[in-house]
Subunit: 201 residues, 2 copies
Amino acid sequence: MDRERHWKEVEQMILEMKNTSEIMVDLAYSALIFQDPGIAEEVLKLEEHMDELYTKFELKVLEILQKKSEEVEEEEVLGLLRLGVAAENIADAASRMAELVIGGVKAHPVLRYAIEETEETIMKIEVDERSPFAGVTVEDAEFDEKAGISIIAIRRGNKWFINPQANLKIEPGDVLITRGFKESKDVLESFIREKRSSRSS
Amino acid sequence: MDRERHWKEVEQMILEMKNTSEIMVDLAYSALIFQDPGIAEEVLKLEEHMDELYTKFELKVLEILQKKSEEVEEEEVLGLLRLGVAAENIADAASRMAELVIGGVKAHPVLRYAIEETEETIMKIEVDERSPFAGVTVEDAEFDEKAGISIIAIRRGNKWFINPQANLKIEPGDVLITRGFKESKDVLESFIREKRSSRSS
């Protein structure tokens, strides 16, 4: 029973490291292409999250190994630890890309043209009390066709929700990382403005 | 005019490097989780493609810089070159992950359980003359609901088509890298078997 629980935790950590590093790559390219230091900062915050996750993961794996009563092959445990390193490498590469943007590396405008050929874009939405997303679940926010977004991560202070669950309620202060079609960016911005003004009146 | 053409080429190369490195990350995780050396080999082949792309990209950027008549800021060119390095870093991290799989690093079965919670899976499909995909366009292959796949890359010998165009015709000998829902994997396999036997009769 106890063993089951341990492995379940390891499994969750692996999924979280995989998803975090993949989102970091996505965000890092977006930050560079749109020359958006705000998105780049989120990549570095995700790197901190990844570091914590990785340390917890290592400790958990070693803890399982220490309990000699369990049938764990050392070689298999080594495989798990190496997976952690590999995920960390990917996250590091994404961070280095984000640091370029924060360091103010100028990119030739050709980068913008390049992105015009891709359909999707990453957006960072800061939720305040008057935001249409405050108090709404992830599901409801995504279901709103007018907003037209998919929420890939939510940052609440130092806490991250990667691929957040449908029933998670968005709070004022949250930072949403969303993916959407390029054309919908303007629509989304006017949607937020409109709803904000109706909330304040 | 000539200048336009040069930049257009650079733009295409950037998009291709971005897409290639992102697909490599995707495939590397899949290779590790499914312990699939076949997928891992494709990651290393993509790394070769990435290296070639990167060298061509650098040469092209320097060629533009050399033509002093053009209004190019050196700092902007530096930004472009650094983008190339950053994309290469991500590709390298993915390759190191693939090498783990090829090197026979055993993973604890917990990895399999982890993937059972994700919905999608990567498949490698080798197309021979009797395959239902031989002679069919990408669009038609994807449109076939029975197959239920999305083709993210095609390898033809050493040549790669990343996010291939809808009208590209699939040839015998091609290797398709596809993404699909986990449940559709079995359906796809029986679909291929069925179509193969009807082609041979």
